[in-house]
Symmetry: C2
Subunit: 636 residues, 2 copies
């Protein structure tokens, strides 16, 4: 399909926007009137800029408050339309978006609406221009696509067609399925916008909270599928009013926009296949290689220098890890426990630049187990991911990899029933495992991200890796709010809670400021007997995050625990949560390593599926105290 | 009245909050349960901290989901209550907030509610504790104060009383007037919260958007007046859930909280006087000296160094100002035009520190005309404003002054029918006015503020100076959003639009980053004939902000102007707006002076009362272009 975006969706001046739209790979652009008004060049110059960039101008928008206007204003409104038609002809576009009248003094009499729209269609037709008529969700009398189609069908003028916008239908919980019955050539244009589900005034919701497809909660494939079935062959365009987008980096955001359309097309294709739609109708939709089934995290790789490497090794050994190998040719070591592989990389230029210099001790790569790494990489590249080829020494395996949004690597590692040959090929492995620890696997890995990058990360994982995203939760830190949204591979073998904070003194913001970018916030290891693991760790001297006794008093009020058990929880600083189905979580946190990221040990019982959100606030408060404890104690 | 605040209203750890609450001058504190849970000290220690700070613990809160709970949970819930009663006794408070049950599976049968609340009152009474029962706006069965009072009256137990929260009533558009009929001793506690009027889910609204009294749009005096009339003598407490407050500087925000209660008391007193309430009932309410009537801005004072002073003088002379005086003993000059006095102060330590060094060329003082400066100053001090006494030389008038939130000064200058003697006393005045300019008066002065300080400024001007605040408007800059809220003296002789932006590349944020704090953004001068003034200014070489021609094409589509008039508007870069009543605004902007603040010349016709909000977007776009024009032109 042709892919388009409205200029209002991006930050910057009109030339900056057009430049970014072309660079992202869009075919066309909707010129939003205000962007033109504020631009210090003529419409003809804009036309030339677009032509030079290879962008079509798919439409001009919006033309407001026309049909059913006060009768004494109709002539003036038609003059206004003619002036805008002049402008469209200078711009070189033949389509204008006319949105339904939202004025309080407008009238809804059907015959008047028919007359007004006929008149406008006549005027447009006389110049070979076309009107796309759209129902605003807050239109005074016309606010559904069904009403729009009723009027368009009745008027039956070649210059008047339906313009569809997913937001205006889905925000009112409208049913798009009947769109399939509209003749495709009567649909002149389609705008796609996603949004989080918010219980608020629909106009405010639309003006400030729209987002790219896949970033919100609307069923957009359910909206697009009947449009494809109608036979519509025009462009698919993004029209996103979003406060964050108004300030977001223009090129990066435009690239996200294009990726979101590709993702929407793939998901719509899947929907149409389920509904046994004719193969020919699927033709225009993007079809990347299918995503892999994932089997968990193969290894995590940390960038360290020698000193930090030794310290991190010491921490991990106290957590029950043991040194399992040394790289054959590089300053890289392997630590293992259960199904967990951690690689400590002290080579300065492993990733094309010195990751340690740039970020300090941090996660530089995540290797995930896939069924077919070539296909997984092809999918990532189809979604405009940046593939990575590392320096491979003799006898080393080359791993498929793609860059995450923060520049770290995601290795795509073929799953092997008998374990993974990559360690044998690259490492001199220790002959026997000596570790005593009972940690089994990586349960989840939480990231701290810059506040304005969450939507971009969500879209990255959803599209390139076909992950799912849980709903956002908002959690209180003593110094502000933290927002968390968890990404999960299907079957949940990989879980990545992403955390942001707009407040500068929260734990998340402190983590970020030390990374100068995004970074791992904590890594959670699962075990079968938390008390055994935590008592071993405590005995080995692992510094555990201290939880206030008042927390345990409250547990006593909330749950039927005997005092002895509560004392044990308190002694080991174990946090507890129980879900509505009786699933239970026991978990404990370490103090941060090098002031940056920390480890969590956890045990899930009876199918507990969450991350202990009920305990995040007490954990964040304990972390704040641990950061500033000495200062504060001295002050009191 | 006793004044209190809930710990949830502030940022930080529990000791930080208590410290700030005491420093602000509150009498008591509501301990929010989570703050206690996350605190690493016993309830007894918290009691001691409060005692040492001279703070009473006015209540413990909240106890949730009790009355009408599932019958199989009642015994467990009573146990839970007993545990919390233990905790209250350790804390040393006798009052607990019990909020109405919000659980979906709770029951609303009146007899069950009566039985459950009776049982709880019995248990509390046995320990000499008291229950304040509150209707949550989203309570499942009980969500109005009328229902609460009905149950409390029926049970008639000395340990059970009504707890009122303004948000829960006003968010549902409830009528508080009947509260006057509740016996005052049956009201156990009163919480006051303001909020902007938002069309959204009431729970989300409550959890994230409450603000201090006077910062929002609720009629809080209308809520408090009947409470005073009931004979209630307990504390007035703030319970503010606000995302911004969770990260705001703790001490400054607590001080704003106390100021907001004083302001609420003054406004409630005025309301009660209007309603002819008995004088004795007014006794407990704060009564500062009345605010002055204001007669406009007497002068503006800029901090400059010699070089900047000469440049600014040159700018102002081209705008029609003339040098009218030189200070008798200081490096300070006076420029005048019409009723406008501008003072350029190049003395390095005029304000106790070098304002120029700290801020660069900027507004350091605003002098406003009052009827009685001593009373105006007393009022500001009663509202905990910081008075300022400058260094006064021989024969100099000493002016009453108070510090604005950014450290600049607000002089309170007595209005004199025959002009102001301060210029004669301090300046060697020029004998004759030589200026040709037709600028008449300062129409408004717009400020750029850090994003999180707007509410604090609004409260400052409302309370100390009794200004009014217009509703907030949101305006698009090419690189983000700008929010603007105008403060006005009654009768509108002084107008101060305050602007903030959370996005770092907007015009407002650029202005701020150059000030390292807040600062003047533009100063608007009114005249009777804009075209005469602008043509004089243009001829004198004042650089005017260039407005794109596309703007004028759109004016042509919107209004019935002839081409000649449009050409004149465009030639002089004049912006135009018309309101619904036919009021008209003509205005023009200069380029910024020294990259910081700029001037506006305007003419109002037919009672136009706004600030040309319709034209702000094109102005901000033009400013962005002016900032970065050269770079961008080179790139294209």
């Amino acid at each position: 399909m042709k892919r388009s975006i409205a200029t209002v969706s991006l930050s910057g001046t009109l030339p900056e926007k057009l430049d970014a739209i072309a660079a992202a790979g869009f075919d066309g652009v909707e010129i939003f009137e205000n962007d033109l008004l504020y631009y210090d060049g003529s419409p003809r110059e804009v036309r030339q800029i677009c032509a030079d960039l290879g962008l079509g101008i798919s439409l001009f928008q919006p033309f407001r408050d026309f049909e059913g206007c006060r009768r004494d204003r109709l002539a003036r409104n038609l003059d206004r339309a003619e002036r805008k038609f002049d402008l469209m002809q200078e711009l070189g576009t033949d389509l204008v978006l006319v949105c339904s009248n939202a004025a309080a003094d407008s009238v809804g009499d059907r015959q008047i609406l028919l007359d007004d729209l006929s008149l406008l269609a006549e005027r447009a037709g006389a110049r070979n221009l076309r009107i796309g008529y759209e129902a605003l969700a807050w239109g005074r009398h016309v606010n559904t696509w069904q009403q729009v189609w009723d009027l368009v069908r009745e008027i039956d003028h070649p210059s008047l067609g339906v313009l569809l916008d997913s937001f205006h239908t889905l925000s009112l919980k409208g049913d798009p399925s009947g769109i399939a019955q509209i003749p495709g050539d009567k649909i002149f244009f389609v705008q796609m916008a996603d949004a989080p589900i918010l219980a608020m005034d629909v106009l405010e919701w639309s003006r400030h909270f729209r987002c790219f497809p896949g970033q919100g909660e609307f069923d957009l494939p359910g909206f697009l599928a009947p449009i494809i079935q109608s036979g519509y062959t025009g462009p698919l365009s993004l029209e996103i009013f979003n406060d964050g987008f108004r300030a977001a980096p223009t090129r990066a955001n435009a690239a996200d926009g294009l990726r979101s359309l590709l993702y929407l097309e793939e998901k719509t294709r899947e929907r149409l296949v389920q509904e046994a739609a004719p193969a020919a109708s699927l033709e225009p939709l993007f079809a990347p290689p299918k995503a892999s089934d994932y089997k968990g995290i193969e290894f995590l790789e940390f960038a360290v220098d020698d000193n930090q490497g030794a310290q991190l090794t010491h921490w991990l050994e106290r957590l029950g890890f043991s040194k399992a190998g040394q790289h054959r040719s590089k300053n890289v070591s392997l630590l293992r426990q259960g199904d967990i592989n951690l690689v400590l990389n002290a080579e300065p230029y492993s990733f094309g630049h010195n990751f340690f210099e740039a970020h300090g001790p941090s996660l530089c790569a995540t290797a995930i187990r896939v069924q077919d790494s070539a296909s997984a990489l092809a999918r990532a590249v189809a979604y405009k991911g940046q593939p990575y080829r590392g320096l491979v020494g003799p006898n080393e395996l080359e791993l498929a990899a793609v860059r995450a949004p923060d520049g770290s690597l995601i290795y795509l590692v073929d799953q092997d029933e008998a374990g993974n040959p990559l360690y044998e090929s690259d490492f001199n492995l220790a002959t026997a495992h000596t570790g005593q620890g009972g940690l089994k696997r990586i349960d989840h890995m939480a990231m701290a991200l810059p506040a304005d990058s969450l939507d971009s990360w969500v879209l990255f994982y959803k599209s390139l890796l076909d992950f799912e995203a849980d709903d956002e939760v908002v959690l209180p830190d003593p110094y502000g709010l933290v927002k968390s949204r968890a990404l999960r591979s299907r079957c949940s073998t990989i879980r990545l809670p992403l955390n942001i904070s707009e407040n500068k003194n929260t734990a998340i913001s402190h983590a970020l400021s030390s990374y100068r970018g995004s970074g791992v916030h904590h890594i959670a290891f699962e075990c079968d007997d938390l008390f055994a693991e935590v008592s071993r760790a405590k005995a080995a001297g692992v510094p555990l995050l201290d939880i206030p006794l008042n927390y345990y008093d409250d547990l006593a009020a909330r749950f039927d625990f005997d005092d002895e058990f509560l004392s044990e929880l308190a002694y080991f600083n174990v946090l507890y949560d129980r879900d509505a189905q009786g699933g239970e979580l026991f978990h404990v946190y370490t103090e941060p390593f090098a002031g940056r990221f920390f480890f969590e040990l956890l045990q899930r019982k009876n199918g507990y599926a969450g991350y202990g959100a009920a305990n995040v606030a007490v954990r964040l408060a304990a972390m704040a105290k641990s950061r500033t404890g000495a200062v504060r104690q001295a002050k009191l």
